[in-house]
């Protein structure tokens, strides 16, 4: 059997960068991502006796990490200082609720069905997610990266269903515009 310190070392060397990248795509800043990775290891470490080997070690660690991230969203939305969501997409539509010229979707000239797997796209996507408001990003990540149901998301964030749809709408408008500006038009 490995000495405990050796096992800890091995874990950190093997999984910390993977967990860090995973977390960084889901929260807004590096310090926070570092803390979440540390908490993930600590929880895993404390419960390593109860870990059953029917799931791989990696899958198990990622499941813990995912829960830590969702916990973070939950804590944030239940804190006394609620993070208000400001409508930054107000100017996307005119008084008749039609697209304004500055905000209307332009043709991207790509095949929308074809996946994009370039480094450039990923880094612009990361930039655009960072620019989103916390609430928009959290809802967006939980829905489109973690596949949580609308009901689960409302529960975690303590928001109403109509609130949820408004936030999803704004998050998409915002992200679309940012991608167009920085990825397509660059």
């Amino acid at each position: 059997m490995n000495k405990p310190s050796l096992q800890a070392e091995e874990w950190v060397e093997k999984y910390s960068d993977l967990l860090y990248n995973y977390t960084l795509q889901r929260v807004s800043d590096k310090g926070l991502a570092e803390d979440i990775v540390q908490e993930t290891f600590l929880s895993a470490w404390k419960s390593r006796e109860t870990y059953k080997s029917d799931a791989s070690e990696k899958t198990w660690l990622f499941a813990i990490c995912k829960n830590k991230i969702i916990d973070h969203y939950r804590k944030k939305s239940s804190s006394p200082v609620q993070y208000a969501e400001v409508d930054t997409t107000d100017h996307f539509f005119d008084e008749a609720e039609h697209w304004t010229k500055e905000a209307q979707p332009n043709e991207w000239g790509i095949n929308y069905q074809q996946p994009v797997e370039t480094k450039e796209f990923y880094s612009i996507l990361a930039y655009c997610k960072k620019k989103m408001q916390d609430m928009q990003r959290n809802v967006f990540v939980m829905k489109y990266m973690e596949d949580l149901s609308a009901e689960e998301i409302c529960k975690v964030l303590n928001i109403s269903s109509s609130n949820y749809w408004v936030i999803i709408h704004r998050a998409k408008l915002q992200l679309r515009k940012c991608l167009e500006l920085n990825w397509i038009n660059s």
Binding site: P4, S5, A8, E9, W11, V12, E13, S16, D17, Y20, N21, L24, Q25, E34, V37, Q38, F41, L42, W45, K46, F92, F93, A96, E97, H98, W99, Q104, P105, N106, E107, W108, I110, Y112, P115, V116, E117, K119, F121, Y122, S123, L125, A126, K129, F140, K143, Y144, M145, A150, W165, V166, I168, H169, K172, L173, L175, R176, L179
Partner: protein, 80 residues
Amino acid sequence: MNLLNISCKKATYLVSKKEQGKIRLFDRLTLQIHLGICSLCKRFEQQSGFMIKNTKHTHTDEKLSEEVKERIKEVLDSSY
């Protein structure tokens, strides 16, 4: 007022509901009509689908600093 006539703001809002299978029958109908005549919203729908597909498996290549790695190892060791 024509009930079947919806605005671009409303149409783009409904696009997400449709994607998630949470759209009412009546809304689905009005959205379909709108997308049939509004090329901008049609384009939004395509781009929205593209974003959903491509945000799921993002890949970045950041490294956790050695300092933080050491800190985590120490925390684990001391909690043994």
